[in-house]
């Protein structure tokens, strides 16, 4: 049936066409459609019965003359050809080359939807990845195989932070990074895509990057395939070729909006803000492809980037993402406006896998308590800052004034760092102790007395009452 062209479209609406009189079409199969001027469009069968087949057309159904539309059912799902040669290449959202070079020829073709990983086959991620960024390494550490998104907003430097992570990420004790990178961009501008390309080039990883691009002006429905194609490539690199793969995907908000657009066309019942009820499961199919597998060497570590509409973390996209990923790094407009780079809001940020990847055998034995203390002290310091804004800093008690100073120093020196500053975890931890030394020991109850004795350099200065 692959070679038969049907001219039986009975109706078209939005991005969907209905075909009649096509027997035995498989659910989820790919479709190639030729319009009256001979232009090819791609599609996917989303619903099928004896009488009718519903096809989603990626490039839309605009200007389709149903009388002169020929449709072929390719009898296979969307697949990606895979070989070592994908490294250094650039593909579109559907996995076709867009770098002018020949297509990948390989017998190895995989369904881009993947298959669910058996939970009994997973290995728990435990190896600490040093990103060289203190706010991440010290307080929200990344581990190999984790999915840790960047929650950002329009105009914030999430691309620069993501690029810095890609440049600097390494396992402790290893010299250069041994990652390969799979980069997927969907719904972003060509400027953003170029920024990443240049930054990969500068750091000399370009020949170890596989790119999948679907830019803002390209077919919306193809956006739904882009992360899936990228992750299929990542799985091949990780589990067939034993690479440690870092997957950067941007922007998940554009992806979810594309999904909503399609859901509306399909007439699916909306849940919140017009997004379909299955947005959670759909995002999970993507995010859960990160991880490690027992007895396999490679791994997939995932850094999705998403912009929060109106900076609202309770918006369905960041909300559902947070419910699936293993934490989140939240960027703050306030810090950014104050000139802090990277503007990581550490309190709402979280790494759930941190607790199992830091400490004695991984980073340093004081790390867990130290991180917990930084959170507590900074939370308290922000409270004091809020109070100072109301009653004036002069009215603060002496103890509170120390916290105020701590807040400023912490943001400038710990969170803030240069874009090319690659701090080792020890530098990060020592810096943290330096800053905590601004606070009296009795305020530091999350660290042990032994740790205080060893690292804390409290010098009570004589203060004017």
């Amino acid at each position: 049936m692959k070679n038969i062209e049907y001219r039986t479209a009975t109706s078209a609406q939005g991005g969907l066409i209905v075909m009649s009189g096509v027997p035995g079409v498989a659910a989820g199969t790919r479709v190639a459609l030729r319009d009256h001027i001979g232009r090819l469009r791609n599609g996917l069968v989303i619903r099928v019965s004896d009488e009718a087949v519903l096809v989603e057309v990626f490039e839309g159904t605009e200007a389709l003359d149903l009388e002169r539309t020929w449709v072929r059912f390719l009898d296979e799902p969307f697949t990606l050809p895979l070989s070592r040669d994908i490294m250094g290449r650039i593909f579109n959202g559907a996995g076709q080359p867009r770098d002018g070079r020949p297509p990948i020829i390989s017998r190895e073709r995989r369904n881009i939807n993947g298959e669910a990983l058996n939970p009994a086959a997973r290995a728990y991620p435990r190896e600490f990845i040093q990103t060289g960024i203190s706010a991440i390494d010290g307080m929200n550490s990344l581990t190999r195989g984790q999915k840790l998104p960047l929650f950002s907003g329009g105009g914030l430097p999430h691309n620069r932070v993501a690029a810095q992570i890609v440049r600097q990420a390494k396992l402790l004790g290893e010299e250069a990074s041994d990652f390969v990178v799979v980069f997927a961009a969907f719904g972003v501008s060509s400027t953003d895509a170029r920024f990443f390309q240049e930054s990969f080039e500068e750091s000399g990883v370009l020949n170890r990057v596989v790119m999948f691009l679907n830019l803002a002006d390209e077919p919306v429905i193809e956006r739904l395939l882009t992360p899936r194609a990228a992750l299929t490539a990542a799985e091949y690199l990780a589990y067939d070729l034993d690479y440690h793969v870092l997957v950067v995907m941007t922007d998940m908000t554009a992806y979810a909006e594309a999904l909503r657009e399609v859901a509306v066309l399909r007439g699916d019942v909306p849940a919140r803000k017009g997004y379909p009820g299955y947005l959670y499961s759909d995002l999970a199919e993507i995010y859960e492809r990160a991880g490690r597998i027992r007895e396999r060497r490679g791994s997939i570590t995932m850094i999705p980037v998403l912009s929060m509409p109106s900076d609202d973390i309770t918006h369905p996209i960041p909300d559902l993402t947070g419910y699936i990923t293993e934490g989140q790094i939240v960027l703050s407009r306030e810090l950014y406006n104050q000139g802090v780079y990277p503007p990581v809001a550490v309190l709402p940020s979280l790494s759930r896998l941190m607790k199992d990847g830091i400490g004695k055998n991984y980073t340093r034995e004081d790390h867990p308590h130290l991180a917990s203390q930084l959170f507590a002290s900074y939370a308290k310091a922000l409270e004091v800052r809020g109070l100072a804004a109301i009653i004036g800093a002069e009215e603060l008690s002496e103890a509170d004034r120390r916290f105020l100073e701590f807040a400023d120093a912490f943001e400038r020196r710990f969170i803030g760092q240069d874009e090319d500053e690659d701090r080792s975890i020890y530098e990060t931890l020592n810096l943290a102790w330096d800053l905590l030394s601004m606070l009296p020991p009795e305020q530091l109850i999350r660290v042990t007395e032994e740790e205080l004795a060893r690292y804390h350099k409290w010098q009570p200065t004589v203060e004017v009452a």
Binding site: A116, P119, Y124, A271, Y280, Y323, G327, R352
Partner: protein, 592 residues
């Protein structure tokens, strides 16, 4: 034999006369399994437990003649099953790291032989009733598996096998049923998951479930056989809290259902459980644990089923006379699966896309919790603890608000506490427990008669400090009187010295009831002693310099539950510390 007519995501329409709602069907060349959820003339509507990609109209379909059921017998413990009870380790051995569609693997191992010991009192021709114990199999060192007569069997025992080793398929007894037919009984039987297993009558739940978590046991207790919910936004600690309960609670069997959540969290349980020891029996925790996993990337219909698979397994162990705890993470994902299927069926949504029957489905699910007198006259319980994941952390959404009306214990997690890394982030103002009076009896008899008074005092102190904190936020701490400042400090002691309890702290991860009470009482003593001085004119500023205050906050991590004598010795020093301060002020006139 019938055939497929239409495929719409997980929903398929079949031309298949004579099936009934709830019946299992197998369709297509891959042999995918699903269940009938609607009928219209000769066609049946089925929801499929697996992805339907590649299925075609015209492919074959057949009814399997039974409803979705689980296999119950030795071999359940220590295992991890998917949402329709396929054993995931065996599935991995068969289909590799990824779950291939259409794999068929029996729930219980077929070739394993179990040492069966018949119950002595069974004699031929004795009456046999559903729920009777035929004999036992020592399944793990800590758990004796009691082999039950299936609940629907009533008749007379014809013969029972002698002690020996049997597989789950071999006949161990024969019975003549009331209708005269002969039924062979084996070590295992099947039960449909959507039908609650029968029992004689409900019993009052009387004993608290001890979880070792102070904010739960001491402040918002749950009883064995009770129902609890843990709502909270993402990252607030629902999973950690449920894992803590699964680790440390004093139930005999723990069923952990990962419903639409992360794969790594199940891996985590699988990796740590075998290494940890049950604080109550000293045996590896995995021996009493059973996992049901339908992670978020697995098919959504099986997710809906996984909750019922879990609760049926729980009831089965209850019927053997055990106290069972089932944790379900997260019931919201189950509700969403329900919503997704309802949407595909074109059912009218009422709130946020959920069908009108959401509330009643939730209620009848939680109704399966409880302490009961079993069919054989024993006692067992199922305690149900469901996580709820409200969108945007908004507790007024449908799943949270329906659940809140059904359960008795509500452990509300707060984003503010979690952001400040106050764990467990259980909000002491939003949470509640309807079981305090029953729990109080147990604490008074087993730990300290003052338990309820101490609990009440602490809760009052916390809400008083909330008021004071509001004032401070307006005008600063200096505006408070000494008494108020000391009250604030005492509340801080309760929060940091008692309520905060890091799961990651090896010493404090579990606190015995005694330790829970000793710590709480210690903080209240400090409060009282200090307050006495403040009332005598000592300024709070002086008391706040006491090193005792920082020390007391560390006691929880310094004294494990077994070393209460040492902690009590420390606490005995408290009056002396305050007396020394009192002396300073006895010599001088009181400062303002």
């Amino acid at each position: 034999m019938g055939k497929i007519v239409e495929i719409n995501g997980p929903i398929v329409r079949l031309q298949l006369p004579q099936t009934v709602i709830g019946e299992q069907v197998r369709v297509g060349a891959l042999g995918l399994v699903g269940e009938v959820i609607g009928r219209d003339g000769d066609t049946a509507l089925a929801q499929m437990y697996e992805n339907t990609e590649g299925l075609r109209p015209g492919e074959a379909a057949e009814g399997l003649g039974h409803a979705l059921s689980v296999e119950l017998g030795p071999g359940l413990l220590n295992a991890i099953f998917d949402g329709v009870q396929r054993p995931l380790s065996a599935v991995r051995a068969k289909s590799g790291d990824r779950i291939a569609r259409g794999v068929e693997v029996a729930a219980l191992p077929r070739d394993r032989r179990w040492a069966f010991r018949p119950e002595a009192r069974h004699e031929p021709e004795a009456r046999l009733e559903g729920g009777d114990v035929l004999g036992t199999v020592q399944e793990t060192t800590s758990i004796e598996h009691r082999i039950l007569v299936p609940p629907d069997v009533h008749g007379e025992l014809l013969e029972i096998a002698p002690a020996g080793e049997y597989t789950v398929d071999e006949t161990i007894a024969r019975a003549r049923l009331r209708d005269g037919s002969i039924r062979k009984l084996t070590l295992s039987h099947r039960w449909p998951v959507r039908t609650p297993r029968p029992f004689r009558r409900r019993d009052h739940a009387v004993k608290p479930l001890i979880t070792g978590q102070r904010i739960l046991d001491t402040f918002y207790p749950l009883l064995k056989g009770g129902k609890a919910a843990i709502p909270g936004p993402f990252g607030a600690g629902k999973t950690m809290l449920q894992q803590q309960i699964a680790r440390w609670c004093n139930a005999e069997i723990v069923i952990y259902v990962g419903c639409g959540e992360r794969g790594n969290e199940l891996t985590d349980v699988l990796e740590f459980m075998p290494e940890l020891k049950d604080p109550h029996t000293g045996r590896p925790l995995m021996e009493r644990t059973l996992l049901v996993a339908n992670t978020s990337n697995m098919p959504v219909v099986a997710r809906e089923a996984s909750i019922y698979v879990g609760i049926t397994l729980a009831e089965y162990f209850r019927d053997q006379g055990y106290d069972v705890v089932m944790v379900a993470d997260s019931t919201s994902r189950w509700a969403e699966a329900l919503r997704e299927v309802a949407g595909r069926l074109g059912q009218m949504p009422v709130e946020e896309g959920y069908p009108a029957y959401l509330g009643s489905r939730l209620a009848s699910f939680y109704e399966r919790a409880g302490r009961v007198e079993t069919l054989s006259g024993g006692h067992g319980s199922v305690t149900l603890i469901g996580a709820v994941s409200p969108p945007g952390g908004d507790f007024s959404e449908p799943v949270t608000s329906h659940t809140k009306e059904i359960i008795q214990t509500f452990w509300a997690l707060s984003k503010e506490l979690a952001d400040a890394r106050h764990y467990p982030a259980v909000d002491w103002l939003e949470s509640f427990s309807g079981y305090v009076p029953s729990a109080a009896k147990w604490w008074a008899e087993n730990v300290d008669p003052q338990w309820e008074a101490a609990r009440n005092e602490a809760l009052e102190l916390l809400s008083e400090s909330e008021e004071l904190a509001r004032i401070v936020n307006l005008v600063g701490v200096e505006a408070l009187s000494s008494e108020q400042r000391w009250t604030l400090e005492a509340a801080g002691l309760i929060k940091e010295g008692v309520l905060q309890q890091a799961a990651t702290d090896a010493v404090d991860s579990f606190a015995s009831p005694e330790k829970q009470y000793v710590l709480l009482d210690a903080m209240l003593q400090i409060r009282a002693q200090g307050m006495k001085l403040v009332k005598l004119g000592a300024p709070a500023r002086r008391l706040l310099q006491l090193p005792l205050l920082a020390q007391a906050r560390r006691w929880k991590s310094q004294y494990p539950s077994e070393e209460m004598a040492a902690l009590k010795a420390r606490i005995a020093e408290i009056p002396g510390i305050f007396e020394r301060v009192a002396l300073e002020y006895a010599e001088r006139p009181a400062e303002v």
